[in-house]
Symmetry: C2
Subunit: 507 residues, 2 copies
């Protein structure tokens, strides 16, 4: 029986931060897998090895126990430990397992030997899934001009939220530790049902409310529940890329429907893109162009859905922020036949890191929606839901929204005024009546991507309207977010934007 002598048993160098036991384990495993400790080879006694490796005998015993548990070693009391004979032949030729060497500092090591080419192909839908329009790296403070869809984080009553969170945490009953309801924390769902009833004319109960992490999840789930690959879906053109992309990834044949001053053109869609079974609309304020869907078209859209047995996802992403007029009743408030899934999110109303959104689901879809959400996600964490519930129930939510409506209205006015002073003839900012973002328009034929590049060189974040185009060219322009920065920043940003647009080399 071969004995593992000093020469053939090479212990690798110990990287800083790697515990002794782990280092010894990895060294021995590497020696076995690499072949320098052959199948059947006898290991040094624990005493010898402890002395040679300059570790305690207990450490060695622990490592042997581990390797035995994992099948690398077999032990016989009093006769020592041996490398398992049954290790597959190919283990000893080293090659396929180069890469298994003493592990350096975990956070520094790649999980794959770079020399080995990755060999996993994405599926067809995988290639579509892997196209997110969202920033993957997160976008924290400070706010910049003119980032879109950003609430003002400095205006959020953070200390108040924190106090509520601390109090809730102290009071949280233990059953808030267990598995929650798939559709969300019941008291929060009741508060949302009451809120959309009063503020949007939507008659529903807590049973119709689903708490999700994002509107994206609502669209993804609604699409997978009601569409099979190849079924077609209507989206607004230009329209919200997040909806279009997630529908494409779900296998839908996405058709862009033109938008005019009355919103989504339902008649055009019925005539030129027949056979759809799904529609995504921003009825309250079309993203990005801004018009509300007219009453006549709302009724026509609902008619279509009734006739087609189709689903309408109404993404009501910022109706809270109509500066002058009262909020419009939701399309969902006219949905007597139950074809509309209404979506809203608190991430835009309070703060993005909250990640709590909701869907008001028609009776026919409540149970399938709950089951599908449970299967693919389980549920949203309970603690943030309970804090949000307290924030709403104690009236802080309503107060905050009212305050932000005034604040954002002032900022919209500031943007309009600054645009008149600095952007006349360059970029037209229409009258702003609502929301966090403004569409702004160039003269026909302008390359808005190039213009957005110029703005970026001047340190300004804008999004070209062409980014929202689906099947047809969008009017050239930029989306300018004005809600998260103060009036001085808006004034300065508009002046800088004017310089940048006039002069390609600006900034």
């Amino acid at each position: 029986m071969r004995r593992a002598g000093h020469i053939e048993l090479a212990l690798g160098p110990r990287q800083p931060g790697v515990p002794l036991q782990r280092w010894l384990y990895e060294s021995l495993r590497a020696a076995i897998l690499g072949g320098s400790l052959a199948p059947g080879a006898r290991l040094p006694s624990t005493r010898d090895l402890a002395a040679r490796a300059n570790v305690s005998r207990g450490t060695v015993l622990g490592v042997f126990a581990q390797l035995e548990a994992e099948g690398y070693l077999t032990g016989a009391v009093g006769r020592g430990s041996f490398v398992t004979r049954e290790l597959p032949e190919r283990l000893t030729d080293g090659a396929p397992l180069r890469g298994v060497t003493p592990v350096p500092e975990p956070r520094m090591a790649p999980s794959i030997a770079p020399s080995i080419a990755p060999s996993i192909a994405l599926s067809t839908r995988g290639r579509l899934l892997a196209r997110s329009p969202f920033a993957l790296d997160g976008r924290g403070a400070p706010a910049r001009a003119f980032r879109a869809s950003q609430p003002d984080l400095d205006a959020f009553p953070f200390e108040l939220w924190t106090r509520i969170a601390a109090r809730r945490a102290r009071r949280t009953r233990r059953d808030l530790l267990g598995d929650g309801e798939a559709l969300g924390y019941r008291p929060l769902r009741e508060a949302i049902a009451a809120y959309v009833g009063v503020s949007r004319g939507i008659a529903c109960t807590a049973a119709h409310v689903a708490i999700l992490g994002s509107v994206q999840q609502a669209i993804d789930l609604a699409a997978r529940l009601t569409l099979d690959p190849g079924d077609s879906a209507w989206v607004e053109d230009p329209g919200y890329a997040g909806a279009r992309r997630v529908l494409e990834a779900a296998g839908a044949r996405v058709r862009g429907v033109p938008v005019d001053a009355h919103g989504f053109d339902v008649d055009w869609a019925r005539e030129h893109a027949p056979g759809a079974r799904f529609a995504y609309v921003t009825a309250g304020r079309q993203a990005p162009l801004g018009p509300a869907l007219s009453l006549e078209r709302r009724l026509a859209l609902l008619d279509w859905a009734r006739g087609a047995g189709a689903v309408i996802v109404e993404d009501d992403y910022d109706s809270e922020y109509r500066f002058a007029d009262p909020p419009l009743a939701a399309l969902k408030s006219l949905d007597t036949a139950g074809h509309v899934i209404y979506c809203g999110t608190f991430s835009k109303l309070l703060f993005p890191a909250l990640r709590i959104a909701y869907a008001i689901v028609p009776d026919a879809l409540v149970d399938p929606f709950a089951a599908a959400w449970s299967l693919t996600a389980r549920h949203v964490p309970l603690d943030p839901q309970s804090v949000l519930h307290a924030f709403i129930a104690e009236g802080h939510f309503g107060r905050h929204v009212r305050r932000m409506r005034v604040l954002y209205g002032e900022r919209a006015a500031a943007l309009e005024a600054a645009a008149q002073r600095h952007l006349a003839g360059l970029l037209h900012v229409p009258r702003l009546s609502a929301g966090l973002d403004a569409p702004a328009f160039f003269a026909p034929g302008t390359d808005d991507v190039e213009m957005a590049r110029r703005a970026a060189r001047a340190g300004l974040e804008t999004r070209p309207l062409s980014f929202y185009a689906v099947e047809r060219a969008a009017p050239p322009g930029l989306v300018l977010g004005f809600a998260s920065i103060d009036r001085a920043a808006i004034e300065a940003g508009v002046a800088a934007l004017a310089r940048a647009l006039e002069d390609p080399t600006a900034g």
Copy 2:
């Protein structure tokens, strides 16, 4: 021009809790949609209406403004308000819009007139998505014998967690309010990379760690990214229903691969279910039967994945809880070619309502995974991630896991002992070496569903092994969760179980 006289303008009754303005708005809208206020009809003056409805004139003006904004009314200064002439004809025949009446208390009203049959068909995959194996109604305290996969919530250091949460909340920098990184809170990802490096032999960096809400989401995302509908996937048979169902819903052709004392039978799979491109395995401790995947089979499975360009999802759901032996190195620790997505969850280690899980993703899939997660979900809420990070970084996580390992080990021993006393000849509980649940076996031919029914009648929660069967019958038995109840409850539960199994009428 017709004038809306007292008779034809009927204001509906005001439900308790409905504000005056809302009641008046709904009444007028219903009158218009119902036809009692015809297109072109002139409304009473705001003064008359205020007097008749016994509300302030301001209220009436607000309601008129709302109806005008929504397109129901057109106004002419000094000439009063009129019902819009352009309302579609069919609006006035009432029928399709019966259901639009003054809205009663929101939380009491269904969102759909029950008289109208729902007409949304689920898609083929929708019918598969709508089959969740999880409880939809949540499962709070108190724990019961023998609920599976439940940590002991009473043993969780809840006050400590709460203090950390409060402290974190006070200290949280404002940039924790903004959009987070798609793959999760960076410090938490670093802590997890270090943890799996030391405890599982997985060499990875924070860049490979994806924070998700559940392992279900990791499986769903991995399947959609790498499989197209019809591609086949291997699961363990018997095996975890959550994985099988979500793979089926993703369109995979799911093949059940037999499990023996060495775990998932890779050779059988290669011979009898060729062409798979995906495998789901519980290598550390097979769910539900318990064996660890042998080293030889681990290497064979990795060989297969390399050759097939396939993905292996390793669900390491409870390796923290090996009572006697040190934790086994993960299959992922041998994954030199980068085909394994390793998943773990804190919801089982700490508390289910936390909903924080993680995946260690190979280099080739990191970017697609990040983009797909961002597109379909955005990211996990930041606050719970930062609290969990502090809980780990301050050493509380490691201490809690060690304490639970001892506690659950004692409970496993208590279950074994009680089973020997009460269940001999009825139900065989094998030696338990790890985990939160025990597989227990009946004599061949026993109907374990009927046995689970008997247990349920005695107030005992068990799950028949046949629940885990995929393509072939599973050995008849029950899964008994022992981790969330104390030894007395285990003893009492086993005694009650014995009575129930012996006597169908027990309980």
